[in-house]
């Protein structure tokens, strides 16, 4: 599959995304030269790390033929528990802070996996339910209180840069350490999907569930992996979001489901399962980042952003559907030739 992409690059969704990305960036650079400054680009990468990590998790779920919309609630719950622990016991250790939300996310993902596997109800229904259950519990217990008194290590971590520069005006800027999280998760996800058995099984299950079952693939284990991976990444993403915001609000994350789905689908993942790649999911997020950033730079009112996002999802999904249609046409032709 990989080798194929080398000689048929124009056949790949990623190629077209990349072209669109270049074209849009060029237009934006003309409208507002600030856009192409390294400062702006680094800011973008930092601010979209949260979305980027979630989109990679969603990608894996979509490839398996499932979908998870509960990840915002999972992120909120794991973020809140982390916040309570580190502020109440004043744990001044960033590694401990980082280690809390991930297992919580995995545990909540496990709930999704079990429900999806045993009830055989469509995952979109299951995860809408768990979204409400997880979120509802959290709101009931916390009554929506905010957390903002964090130990210094938590406050300072976000300032760390892995590349530093100084602008012409003398203000320092650089590539945030948070972006490194996105890069690591991307490499890890790519490796899992491409080079591990479980990764290939995820593609197989999403490609033809019945065939996977007949071939002896353990569907249960595959689902557990997929939903727990999404859950764990939701936990990690919630850490990133808390770092950026430096405040934990139970209602800050829920509502971002659409952006993440849009990014994954834009990147070529199909809601019917079996397709999607890591480069696609990254390009999908970048595209959304650029579009949103462009809208801001062009001073377009915020309500229009929603309109644009909706249009992008509809557009991307239609393109994928059209590709499927052409594919099946070609199949018909192939069959008769």
């Amino acid at each position: 599959m990989m080798r194929k992409s080398r000689w048929k690059i124009y056949n790949q969704t990623e190629f077209y995304l990349f072209i669109v990305l270049i074209v849009l960036s060029t237009i934006l650079a003309f409208v507002n030269p600030k856009f192409l400054r390294l400062e702006n680009i680094f800011d973008l990468l930092r601010n979209y790390t949260f979305l980027g990590i979630l989109a990679l998790g969603q990608l894996v779920v979509l490839i398996s033929g499932g979908i998870d919309v509960s990840f915002t609630a999972i992120a909120t719950v794991s973020q809140y528990i982390m916040g309570v622990i580190i502020s109440k016991y004043y744990i001044d250790n960033i590694l401990v802070a980082l280690a809390i939300p991930i297992p919580i996310g995995i545990a909540l993902g496990l709930v999704n996996a079990l429900l999806v596997y045993y009830t055989r109800v469509h995952p979109v229904i299951i995860t809408i339910s768990t979204l409400n259950v997880f979120y509802g519990f959290l709101m009931f217990i916390t009554s929506g209180r905010w957390i903002y008194k964090f130990p210094p290590s938590f406050r300072n971590f976000v300032q760390i840069k892995i590349l530093s520069f100084t602008s012409a005006k003398g203000t320092p800027y650089g590539l945030s350490i948070l972006t490194l999280f996105w890069i690591i998760v991307a490499v890890m996800t790519w490796f899992i999907l491409k080079h591990t058995n479980i990764g290939r099984k995820i593609y197989a299950v999403g490609g033809n569930l019945e065939a996977a079952r007949r071939a002896g693939i353990n569907i249960f284990r595959t689902y557990i992996f997929v939903y727990c991976y999404m859950g764990g990444l939701a936990g990690l993403a919630s850490f990133v979001q808390a770092q950026l915001a430096q405040i934990i609000q139970p209602n800050a994350i829920v509502g971002k489901e659409l952006d993440v789905l849009a990014a994954a689908i834009l990147g070529g993942a199909s809601v019917f399962g079996g397709s999607g790649t890591v480069p696609g999911a990254i390009l999908g997020v970048l595209l959304i980042a650029i579009i949103k950033n462009g809208l801001v730079l062009m001073r377009i009112p915020a309500y229009w952003h929603q309109v644009v996002m909706g249009a992008i999802i509809a557009g991307a999904a239609s393109v994928t559907a059209l590709q499927m249609k052409f594919k099946s046409r070609r199949m018909v032709r192939k069959n008769v030739d």
Binding site: H195, N197, G207, E210, G216, M331, K334
Partner: protein, 499 residues
């Protein structure tokens, strides 16, 4: 000679009950090493239950015995069966359309391996080795969904070879292959046989069974009629053994003498699909359209039904030129179309038989408030079941529970009840058994005698020569010959299709 060849699989006294129904009763089966063994029987005769027992998907009733290469089992489970080398190439092929050819072939590298990492080099090696063994080449990097059905089937066969198949069970492997592809498949099967691999070949196509099979086991109503050597059988005898009746395919007697052209096609062309097609269809006539798969038959039929707009040419219905924008227009002009694939295009499988039957005539079962009148619906549906002789457990059971032949009758009934003047039947007897075929022929003949013009698209020379008043031969997107009934023999037609 018998002593030299040893048994691969022995089944003795296999029984299986579903509820109170005996799906299999005292069935014995022997499969030798390196033998091509065919399994035939009408729908519901127990073929699939027997396969499921061999593959360990269902357990037989206690008291039976299964022996694989001398090792005895009371029953098998899927893993044991698989590890003993019993592999099924399912009718739907069970491939992963989104994965590459190599990965599909070597899928068990992912499943069986203890290490969590993929060894891509090994996957390509396995695929390469197996394809070389079969003497075929398919680009191992290409995604399976981009292959033709025939190539996909080869991939499925390669997959079972890759995991060391000793007995390969092929379920209706030829149902969507062209005759040339069938020949290629058969030569591969013979090659596998010469390497000591046993093959259990399940098919409705008796010609093929008699061509490829060495021994043929016939099942009927869950019981084994017998196992016969190929030399002992011919098609007629095999039909008799399967159905218990002498099904002399009644040749259709002369159709209506008075010829009224109802559909006229002039120079119809759609580039890449069919070219310069001209013909007339008369009311009360059955016009056969035969040719190798890929000749453009289905594309032509869809154009006549308004679903595939032609590039040029003219269509006349009852003397008036028409131009269909959609199939709604075609239906308005009295054209009905029964698609090739009744399962995906002709029926709503999960819905009741009743709902499937009335779907084309909802207008007729509305009450004064323009809502569906349940009583009228029941009455209309029951009438159709009676008229078409549909065998069903009830009006409310899901259409998927019917046998293939009866499903086909539901599809026919639903179109015929719209009172079409022209009926296009695309492969109406594909994948159904002989007895069901015969009742479809009768039904079509009766419809023609009532004045309906029928365009009968088929793969089988025997059925068009027996049932059609005229036969059009289509090859490479063109009509290459039109024959009157009795002008051409089955063998001659077959020869012209293949040449």
């Amino acid at each position: 000679m018998e002593e030299r060849i040893s048994h691969f699989l022995i089944l003795r006294n296999i029984n299986k009950n579903y509820g109170g129904v005996k799906a299999l009763e005292k069935v014995d089966l022997d499969i030798m090493e390196g033998e091509i063994h065919c399994l035939v029987g009408e729908n519901g005769s127990g073929k699939s239950t027997l396969v499921k027992i061999i593959t360990g998907v269902v357990k037989p009733e206690p008291g039976g015995k299964i022996e694989i290469k001398g090792e005895s089992f009371e029953f098998l489970d899927p893993l044991t069966s698989f590890l003993k080398g019993i592999h099924v190439v399912h009718q739907d092929l069970s491939l992963f359309p989104n994965l590459s050819v190599a990965e599909n072939i070597a899928i068990h590298e992912h499943i069986m391996k203890k290490s969590g990492l993929v060894n891509w080099k090994r996957i390509y090696e396995v695929a390469d080795r197996v394809m070389k063994r079969l003497g075929i080449y398919i680009d191992p990097h290409i995604q399976v969904e981009k292959l033709s059905v025939a190539d996909q089937q080869l991939v499925a066969i390669c997959r079972s070879l890759a995991s060391d198949a000793k007995l390969m069970i092929l379920d209706e492997p030829t149902s969507s292959l062209t005759s040339r592809e069938v020949e290629r498949l058969f030569s591969i099967l013979r090659d596998l046989k010469s390497r000591g691999i046993s093959i259990l070949f399940i098919s409705h196509r008796l010609d093929e069974v008699l061509d490829i099979g060495e021994r043929i086991t016939v099942l009927k109503d869950g019981k084994k009629v017998g196992t016969f050597r190929k030399e002992e059988l011919d098609k007629k005898k095999l039909t008799y053994l399967m159905t218990g009746r002498e099904l002399a395919f009644v040749r259709r007697s002369k159709g209506l003498e008075k010829k009224v052209p109802i559909l006229k096609v002039e120079n119809l062309t759609k580039y890449g699909q069919f070219e310069n097609v001209s013909f007339e269809l008369h009311s009360g006539e059955i016009l056969g359209l035969i040719g190798p798969r890929g000749a453009g038959r289905t594309e032509l039929a869809l154009s006549l039904f308004g679903m595939n707009p032609p590039d040029s040419g003219r269509i006349f219905v009852e003397g008036k030129e028409v131009s269909f924008k959609s199939n709604r227009d075609a239906i308005k002009h009295g054209i009905g179309y029964v698609p090739e694939n009744r399962l995906t295009q002709g029926l709503v499988l999960e819905q009741s038989v009743k709902n499937n039957l009335v779907i084309t005539i909802l207008e007729r079962i509305l009450n004064d408030f323009r809502l569906i009148d349940e009583e009228r619906k029941n009455k209309v549906a029951e009438e159709m079941v009676r008229k078409f002789g549909i065998k069903t457990a009830g009006m409310d059971v899901a259409a998927k529970t019917l046998s293939g032949g009866n499903q086909q009758k539901v599809v026919l009934a639903k179109w015929i009840s719209t009172a079409p003047k022209i009926l296009i039947l695309d492969g109406p007897t594909m994948g159904i058994d002989v007895a069901a075929k015969e009742s479809i022929y009768r039904l079509v003949s009766k419809l023609a005698n009532e004045g309906i013009a029928v365009l009968f698209i088929s793969d089988e020379s025997s059925e068009v020569t027996a049932n059609c008043d005229r036969i059009m031969l289509m090859k490479n997107r063109k009509i290459v010959g039109v024959f009157k009934k009795d002008e051409i023999s089955e063998e001659e037609l077959e020869r012209r299709i293949k040449e």
